[in-house]
Symmetry: C2
Subunit: 314 residues, 2 copies
């Protein structure tokens, strides 16, 4: 039996932006197990009853809240915070949106679009996107990071070397994450929980879903770490891979352009295969399509591929 949680940090303790001057919501010791309640990335602006009008009305100053910060006793700049992601208590509610001006193909998708998800929080069975498509779920933490040394309030949207809004879909149950500490106490905050996402999060949102997260924290003293790293306990794509993939490529001298071409190609391909509307295909690519860099050395042209799992339509 695991040790009991030493702390529960409730979702009332959420904040917007990174700032090492924000007072800690809790103080924990290395070795402690904690649980955190995380609200969704819209901070409640999108609900199960929402329509696309709520996407248009969203207050962008109130997005991507994180729960915390949590002070870790004894943490000092130059240490590494070791975070075991033990598990999730998902809510069953989620949303995915195209938010105008945001996302890899913002120039091609100018209108807001919204999908509300109602998934089985207990079984995590593949979630219904439409009559034709079901998305395998794998809850993970979209935003997990430490306060930066640089004073002031910093936007939470871009990830940084101390982590933050990394949106790396394998920060899931069983994964251990290592973050570089920049300030005394480390000041960990966590939020932006997702029920599923592909590598890239191409439309800008995943299955955004409130969840409670269980973590175990430890310190590694005075070891250099340039950027976050993590270890997964096993395979990372088994929920997606059984039926193989459709893959589209972008080829050219700019990785960003390659990625855009690969995603645009998959939107066309899913439309041709399944009659899917382009905005629906874009959202589906975001929640379960993976961007892989196939080659990055055959100068001057690189290849980025978007892998879409066929199981979604099988």
């Amino acid at each position: 039996m695991a040790a009991p949680f030493k702390h529960t940090i409730h979702d009332a303790h959420h904040h917007f932006g990174w700032d090492h001057a924000i007072a800690p919501a809790a103080k924990v010791a290395p070795g402690d197990r904690i649980e955190l309640e995380c609200i969704d990335a819209s901070a409640g602006q999108i609900t199960a009853a929402s329509t696309v009008a709520d996407v248009t009305a969203m207050d962008s100053a109130k997005v991507n809240p994180v729960t915390g910060p949590i002070e870790v006793d004894g943490a000092e700049p130059g240490d590494i915070l070791r975070i075991e992601i033990e598990g999730f208590a998902p809510s069953g509610f989620g949303w995915t949106a195209n938010i105008p001006g945001f996302g890899l193909l913002a120039d091609q998708f100018r209108d807001p679009h919204l999908k509300i998800w109602d998934y089985a929080a207990d079984t995590l069975a593949p979630a219904l996107f439409s009559e034709m498509a079901r998305v395998p779920l794998k809850p993970f933490i979209g935003t997990i990071g430490l306060a930066p040394a640089e004073p002031g309030r910093h936007s939470i949207i871009p990830p940084r070397r101390m982590g933050g809004n990394m949106d790396a879909r394998d920060l899931a149950a069983g994964t251990t994450l290592y973050l570089p500490v920049e300030v005394a106490g480390a000041l960990l905050s966590v939020g932006d929980t997702h029920a599923a996402q592909g590598d890239g999060e191409v439309c800008g949102t995943a299955i955004e879903s409130p969840m409670t997260v269980a973590l175990k924290l430890d310190l590694i003293k005075q070891r250099p770490l340039a950027f976050p790293r993590f270890s997964t306990p096993g395979p990372v794509s088994r929920h997606l891979d059984a039926r193989g993939y459709e893959a589209t490529m972008g080829i050219g001298p700019d990785l960003m352009g390659c990625a855009r071409d690969a995603v645009a190609g998959m939107i066309d391909h899913l439309g041709a295969l399944h009659g899917l509307a382009a905005e629906d295909a874009y959202l589906l690519c975001s929640v379960c399509g993976d961007l892989r860099i196939s080659e990055i050395v055959d100068q001057p042209n690189w290849v980025v591929s978007l892998y879409f799992p066929r199981i979604v339509f099988d």
Copy 2:
């Protein structure tokens, strides 16, 4: 029982560079099964007896030969050539090199480095890199493409919209590849076979290995295709994923910089974990580490992660 091969294109029919003026080595009909003998990417300049001196001496005008071209009866510009990759007869010999001036971290790895592989061509058992490390194998085609419409001889190193040196590691047995036809007869050439490679091919070479390749060709008439696409018959990472991954991240405003930081981080990490020399870690990342774009929307910073399979050291 499969239909017999209609054509065997021997490795004497290899050429350097793309040029639609090169005379076809064979003419085939849609529906034909063919086999092609492919020599290695050094065109025999690296052998099982080679030392690092042969890397330095390599004639760069004689690299990346392809076998062909094969004229497909009835193919016209605007068609799609559909290529079923049926299987491989691998040779058991391979090489991986750091070639000065080539590769993602060419500025950090200025000296030539060479690993000669001797793998089991019949069982394809994981290949010994060192006493500590074994690399799971999955043969695939590094270079497969069609002649471009633009006249003249074009370097074979960069991939193009008609395919070519895509180095996409899932162009493996069972995969179906779709390439856009730009000239009458399509003019397919194939080479640069690899026994294993990670997504990215970060040091610039894979396990470069001569093989015979079996393909089935078909035409799809007059359908637009901006870039190549492919379908895999099933999972693509099962040979690597059983023990999970170590992953390092690069975070910043430039995808290329992110990828470089992620790879540099893994080289450091493998050194710390296993005492691996940096140049060996770089080669290992190239043959079995995967570059994934974790997020590409949280402006202005993106995340690229290098996933290294733990099974290599287990």
